[in-house]
Structures are given as C-alpha cells and as structure tokens.
C-alpha cells in the first residue's frame, strides 16, 4: 500500500450547526480571527469590489440601452465602440460579464423575494402592456411575435428588470467593499469582527434604498419597476440575491449530472446547495465551473499585497485562482455573517427572554443551512 504523505492531503475541521448558532448568538464572527484572514478577506473583497463595479455598470447599461434588443452584439462594451476596445474585447482581454449574467439568471430563476412577487402583479402586467405597445410600434418583429407568443416579451422585461436591480445592488456592494479596503488601509478596520461590523453597517445604511427601473422608448419614459412598487434594497434584492447565489446556486455542469434518471438534482429548488457558501473551490478553472469566470476577473484585479501572499503559498502563481476562490468563500461567509447580524430580530444583548428566543430561532434557522456549508474554510 502506498504511503501518502500527510501534508499532501488534508481536510480542515469544519464547524457544526450548534457551533454556527453559538457564534451567531454570542456575537462572534463565523470566520476565525487572524491576521491572515484579515488580509485575505479585505483584499479579495477589494478586487471583488472593482469587478462588481464593472459588472454593475454593465448590467445597468444592458438593462437601459439594450432593452429588448434581439441582437445585442456589443452589449458588453457599454456603448463605447472604439476599435481598441473592440479589439481587446475580441482578444478576451476583458472582464467576464457573462458571470454577472449568470448571477442574474440564478436570481431570476430561483424566483424568490418581493421583486419576484411584483413580477406577477397586475400592475407589472400593465407596465408590460404599455412598453410592448410602444416597442411594437417601432419593431415589426416584436409586433408579430407578441400575439403568437404572449409570454415572450413580459418574460424578457422581467429578466431585464432583474438585471437592472442586480446592477443597483452591486453598485452599493462595490462601493461598500472598496470603502472597506480604504478603511483597512488607514487603520480603521483591524479585525475580522470589524470587517463584519463594517459590512453590516453598510447594509443597514442601504437597506431602505429604493429599487427603481425605467426605460426610454422613442424618447418616452416607461416605468418597469416604478417607485410606487415600493421595492427596497435589502428585502427585495439583497435577500433574494443571497438566497439565489450564496445559498442555492445552480448545479454546475462540470460536477453534477443533469441526467434525469440519475436523479442527482433535487426537484425542489429550495433544497439546492450549489451556492457560493457550499461550492468546492478545488475544481475552480476546470470545465463546467461558471465561477471560474469570477475568479479570473478577481485575479486580474488582485491587490499586490494579497497576490504576494498567494505567491508565498502552495503552488504560488500556479494555483492562485483556487486560492482566490478559497479566500472569496471566507469573505462571503463574512458578508453573510454581516447580513445575519443586520437582520437579527432583536439586539443580541437583549435580556428579554422572548427576544432571546426569537434571536435563537433566527440564528438556528441560519445555522441549519450553514451547518452543511463549507465551514471548513472558517478556521484554517
């Protein structure tokens, strides 16, 4: 029998459900406190913030300027058609906006939250009718297709609305993560606990931001998500986003068989555990792993401090994108941690037994889901 050197293969200790709940209720961070963790989380969030900035700009551009365009050939160029930019685009020397669309798709497909409920409302249907009527006057193709396939255009409008909402969400997150990096740089943030607190404050501050979306058709303005729908940042976009991307996710073709007879994928989307907090970082950059695109984007914006930190570990530059993925998973636990803290029903130091029970139930529900996530990244 071969003797496999222990340092070649190892499994980190993962924390169980009870421990997750305990940490949440005790006000401890899920991610272990260490200097390395701080560098990883802050710097990876900094590069993520830069990537999200590009994603956000592009998604909003797509939703506003490529609205119902059947051939959005230049949709990733943000309207800037200079030859050098087109060349870089062809040479794939660019941000992978496909990943932004992938997240949009996940959010749209999982169909949770207030915005999704609004999509099924009569008010939204009325908005759609107005927009389609205006569009059909200018576009004969749509005029023919709409009566034949009445569900087609409303579904595309819903998709565009999700795109725009995600763009608005990422605008906030991008600014928040870049602010965090600045705060760490000038010493205002010195620990993982401070990181979580910083993100929580940012989320809470933005919680009530309105989510609105309108399009221009022939110089006329049409609301898709009007102010009166009352959609807000935290409840209607952030929470569904966390649900769809962090928790549920979509099965990767590269690791899960879609074969119906093999029954590897649950028929109930609520049972999905393919999201960022559950995903295995090791196959990153392999085939059929969509988050590889994000890792590549963050790799292109990696701060030098973290890059150097990576170079000194394991394969150095060779497996840097897997290491980014591991750090990213840690940082996503911090963001989730902040979101949970921010939405805790009562203050943690409350002495009221009812409040404590409510908090325990809330933390318990989260622990239920996080207990089977990749908590093995938390202590390493």
């Amino acid at each position: 029998m071969p003797i496999i050197p222990a340092e070649l293969v190892q499994a980190n200790l993962s924390i169980e459900r009870e421990e997750v709940q305990r940490r949440l209720l005790a006000g401890e961070t899920l991610l272990g406190e260490s200097a390395d963790h701080l560098v990883e989380v802050v710097d990876v969030l900094k590069s993520y913030g830069e990537v999200l900035d590009a994603y956000s700009i592009n998604l909003i551009y797509q939703a506003e300027h490529q609205f119902l365009n059947p051939f959005p050939i230049f949709k990733y160029l943000d309207g800037d058609l200079n030859p050098a930019k087109i060349w870089r685009h062809l040479n794939h020397d660019r941000i992978n906006f496909e990943y932004a669309e992938y997240c949009q798709k996940a959010m749209f497909w999982h169909a949770t939250g207030g915005m999704d409920a609004y999509f099924d409302s009569e008010a939204f249907a009325a908005n759609c009718r107005r927009i389609i009527a205006a569009k059909s006057r200018r576009d004969p193709l749509l005029a023919i297709l709409n009566p034949l396939f009445p569900g087609f255009l409303p579904e595309m409008i819903r998709s565009a609305a999700t795109t725009h909402a995600l763009g608005q969400f990422w605008r906030v997150m991008s600014d928040l993560f870049l602010d965090l990096a600045a705060a760490e740089a000038d010493g205002r943030v010195r620990s993982i606990a401070a990181v979580v607190e910083f993100i929580k404050n940012g989320l809470v501050a933005a919680a009530a931001n309105p989510i609105e979306y309108g399009v221009q058709i022939g110089g006329e303005h049409f609301w898709v998500l009007p102010p009166e729908a009352g959609l807000t940042f935290l409840v209607d976009v952030a929470v569904p986003y966390v649900e769809a991307v962090f928790l549920r996710g979509m099965p990767f073709l590269g690791t899960v068989s879609f074969n119906a007879q093999a029954q590897q994928i649950s028929p109930d989307q609520a049972q999905f555990t393919y999201g960022a907090l559950y995903a295995d970082p090791l196959p990153s950059m392999g085939s059929g792993i969509p988050p590889s695109l994000l890792m590549q984007d963050m790799y292109r914006h990696l701060p030098e401090r973290l890059h150097q930190w990576y170079r000194e570990r394991t394969r150095g530059e060779g497996d840097v994108r897997v290491k980014i993925c591991m750090s990213f998973q840690k940082s996503m636990f911090c963001v989730t941690n902040a979101a949970i803290n921010g939405t805790m029903p009562h203050p943690l130091d409350s002495t009221d037994p009812e409040a404590r029970a409510a908090n325990a139930a809330y933390a318990g529900a989260w622990a239920q889901r996080l207990g089977i996530a990749r908590t093995d990244c938390l202590e390493a």
Binding site: P2, I3, L8, V9, Q10, G286, V322
Partner: protein, 505 residues
C-alpha cells in the same frame, strides 16, 4: 569508423566519468553525460544519413580479427533492422539522462552505468559476430542490475535478484546455443551466415533455435517467461524503466529476428505456427493481466508484455509487410512505453503513489497535473493503436502482414489490441478524471469533497522529454514513410530469407 564511434563515445565517456578528478556535483555529472549522449545521438543520426536505404545487406562495416582462435571478430555493421534501434537507443538514453534529477546516491557510478548500457546496447545491435553480440548482451546486464539494485525502490533487492537470475539464464541459453552451433557444425564461424540443412540437420537446428527462443523470450519477455519484468519495473527508477522498456526489451526481439529467423531460417519456418500461437497467448495474457493491475507502472509493464507479442507474431509470419511491421512495432513501442513510464514517473514523483485506487482527478487545471494528464491521454491512445500515432501504423502493418499466414493468431492479437484500450482507459479515467484526490474514495462523499490536495507543480522543463517523445509518436504516426524508407529493403530481404534456394526444401 562511424560505428566504432558509437561504441567509443559512451564507453570512453563512462570511463571518463569514473575517473573524473575531484568530486564533481551531480548536476555537473548529469550535464557531462547529456553532452556525451547528445554527441552519441548525433553520430547515430550521421550513421542514418550515411546509410544507403536501397541496400539490403550490412553497411558501414568494420571488421578486425580479435581472437581468431575462437572465432571472435570485432565485426560491426548496420542494416535497416538495426539502424532504427540504434537511433532509438541514442534518443532514449538521452531522455533517461535528462529525466534523472535529484540523484544523491553515487551519481558518478549512476551516470557511468547509464553510458555503459548505451554503449553495450549499441554494440549488441551492431555486432556481426555471434560472440561479440553475446559479450555486449552480457555487458549491458551488469550496469542495469546495478541501476535497479542501488537506485531502486523498497523491494529492489528482490527485484534485482530476480532480474539477475532470469537474465543470467537467458544469457546462458544464448551462449549455449552459440556454442552448440560451433560444436554441431564443427566450425567456429560465428558470422551471420544462415545455418541451413546442408550444414546442420533439422533436429539440431530446432534444438539450437529453441534455446535461442527461450533465451530471447526471457528478454522480450514472452509469457510465461515474463515474471521478472513487472517486478523490475516497479522497483526501478523512472529513467531506468524508460531505458528498460524502450531499449533493452528490444534486444530480445532484435536477437530473435537476427539470430533466430536470420540464422535458422528453415527451423524458423517449421516453428512459425507455434510461435504465432505463442505470440497470441502473450498478447492476450499481457493485456488481461494489465486489466487487473492497480499499480500504474505494473499496468504499463504488462502492456509491454502484450505489445512485444506483436513483434513475435510478425516475425512468425515473416512476410515483407509483417517484418516491416515488426521494426515499426519495436520503434513505436520504444517511444510509447518510454513516454508512458516517463509520465507515470511524473505522477509518482508528485503524488507519492501510483495506485489507481487512490489517484483521482489529476486533470484538475490549477492543483492537479493537467499537462501531464493531457500527454498521458496522447500516450495511452497511441498505445491503444489510435490512428495518427505510431502505434496504429505499426499494428496495422503487423496485422496486415500476418493475417494471410496466421489468421487466427492475428485476429486474437487484434482482440488484445482492443483490450489495450480497456486497461488504459481505466487508468486515465480513474487517475485523471473526477475530483482531485489522492486518497481512497471514502464512504462519505461530503468529507471527500472537502479534501484539500497539495501537489508540487510540474515544471515545464520536466515535461520537455515527454513532449519530445509525444511529438515523435505523432510524427511517426502521420509520416510513417520516414521510418519505412529506412527499413523496408532490409525487412523485405529478411522476410524472403526462408525462400532462398534450398531453403524450405
């Protein structure tokens, strides 16, 4: 003169290494060895350039009487049969030296032995004298045995002893046959003149040929004489395995063609049907045994047993096409098995294991061995006889040349070719597909999916020899006429040898 250089360069180099003043660093010794081997390969290429492909007989001959009393002449020559093998020897010894890294134990002796083997193998391929061949044949064993027993794995003593015993028996049988030839014919003419019934009765021919067949059969190796090979391979280091599979096994097939078929054409024709069946058994046995292996290296070793069987099949049929196929198969097996051992060596060095129950997902692009894996796919496909690579044209020539003579044995051997795909796909799909891990799959898939694996990366320079070999395999597969031109005249002549006047009678 060129041929003498092919002996002189490695032997002198070997001596120079042993006598090199001071204590040179291993890396320095390696570079010197590489330089010597590049020179040797250059001379081999020069021989190929000087070689007239339209001539059937021996060329560039050198002949000096050495010990006339016993018929031992220093007689060298090269023909279309030996030339490709000399080239392969030059190339693969160079590869062996290049892939030798981190040699800490007696590097001086190691490299000297490597050169000694290369020289001895050149000598054996070029000898036109039976005794001279025997001397070189034996000379190569000692350094190889040393390479296994000093620089081998944990069980090296057992493997080395086994190797020693088997090859000693092989040598004795060959020597016995040569001596018997002298005794029975009453002359000490140890040249390569065919021994026909006017010189020696058929009974005597059959005995001598039988001894030679067993002697060389051990070396090739043929079932059931193969037992030393898997053990030796698993204990030998990668460079030695490359040399053993790529070059040294060819001594057996070369000897069988040169001293079996060419020396005893009549007896050969009589035994041919038996040999064909023997070949088919070897092919099937080797392939089936390979399927049951879980050690990658053992699997490749057994595949050698199977693939060398094709050469025997081709030799048994000895038609012009099959004989050319035999040369092709020797060359392509040399390249492909060397490539396979090299890649298995890389996997072993990085993961510490060759166990197929344990290795998984090595194609992982960031933390696995993706480039090695891609080359491995090329190598196993070449070995399984996929067109566009050397294995296919070799097997095609062997089968095409043999099917008219021995249809059943040929069809059975083709089944063996199909089985090659089975075990090599098992190897690739187990070790390289799936999620990366180097532990046995555990009962808990969740825990399995959380293993972090740290393998040292494969530096580009480590894969250069493998890339070169893979390129050679593809080039030979796409442009086979390059080798065909070199050997065709000689192999056609060799195939026609049983048809010489007074031959079959």
């Amino acid at each position: 003169m060129l041929l003498t250089c092919l002996l002189l360069i490695p032997f002198a180099g070997s001596l120079a290494l042993l006598l090199w003043p001071g204590g040179p660093r291993p890396s320095r010794l390696r570079l010197i060895t590489i330089a010597i081997l590049v020179l040797q390969l250059g001379v081999s290429v020069a021989v190929a350039l000087a070689f007239d492909t339209t001539q059937a007989g021996m060329q560039l001959q050198v002949r000096h009487a050495w010990v006339p009393g016993i018929g031992l002449d220093y007689a060298l020559g090269v023909d279309g049969l030996s030339l490709p093998l000399v080239l392969i020897n030059g190339a693969l010894t160079l590869v062996s030296a290049v892939i030798t890294r981190d040699i800490d134990k007696r590097p001086r002796i190691y490299f000297a032995m490597l050169l000694l083997i290369s020289g001895a193998v050149n000598g054996a391929f070029l000898s036109e004298n039976l005794l001279l061949f025997f001397l070189f044949y034996e000379l190569e064993l000692i350094p190889l045995w040393l390479l296994v027993s000093v620089w081998g794995g944990v069980n090296r003593a057992y493997a080395a002893t086994k190797f020693l015993i088997f090859t000693a028996v092989s040598g004795m049988l060959i020597l016995g046959a040569f001596l018997g030839l002298a005794l029975l014919t009453g002359s000490v003419d140890f040249s390569l003149t065919p021994v026909l019934s006017d010189r020696l009765a058929m009974g005597g021919q059959l005995w001598l040929l039988g001894a030679l067949l067993i002697g060389f059969g051990i070396k090739i190796p043929l079932v059931p004489l193969h037992n030393w090979l898997p053990d030796t391979h698993t204990q030998a280091s990668t460079p030695v395995s490359v040399l053993l599979a790529g070059v040294l096994l060819k001594l057996g097939t070369y000897g069988m063609l040169r001293f079996g078929l060419q020396l005893f054409p009549e007896a050969w024709a009589k035994l041919a049907p038996v040999l064909a069946i023997w070949a088919a058994i070897s092919v099937l046995y080797g392939s089936l045994a390979a399927i049951a292996q879980t050690d990658m290296k053992r699997m490749v070793a057994y595949s050698s047993v199977g693939h060398m069987g094709y050469v025997l099949l081709a030799a048994a049929a000895h038609t012009p096409v099959s004989m050319l196929g035999a040369v092709f198969q020797m060359v392509s097996h040399g390249l492909i098995s060397a490539l396979l051992f090299l890649l298995v060596g890389i996997v072993y060095r990085k993961t510490g294991t060759r166990d197929l129950e344990v290795l998984r997902g090595l194609l992982n692009p960031e933390k696995g061995l993706p480039f090695t894996g891609s080359l491995m796919i090329v190598a196993v496909m070449a070995s399984a006889g996929l067109p566009g690579m050397a294995g296919f044209i070799s097997e095609f020539l062997v089968f095409r040349g043999s099917i008219g003579v021995f249809p059943v044995a040929t069809l059975l051997s083709m089944v063996g070719s199909g089985l090659t795909a089975v075990y090599f796909l098992l190897l690739v799909n187990r070790a390289f597909f799936g999620r990366l891990a180097i532990t046995p799959p555990s009962a808990d898939p969740v825990a399995d999916g959380r293993l972090d694996v740290q393998l040292a990366p494969v530096a580009p320079r480590e894969t250069i020899p493998a890339v070169a070999l893979a390129a050679a395999v593809v080039v030979l597969g796409l442009v086979p006429s390059s080798l065909g031109r070199l050997s065709e005249v000689a192999t056609t002549a060799l195939a026609g040898i049983t048809a010489i006047p007074g031959g079959l009678g």
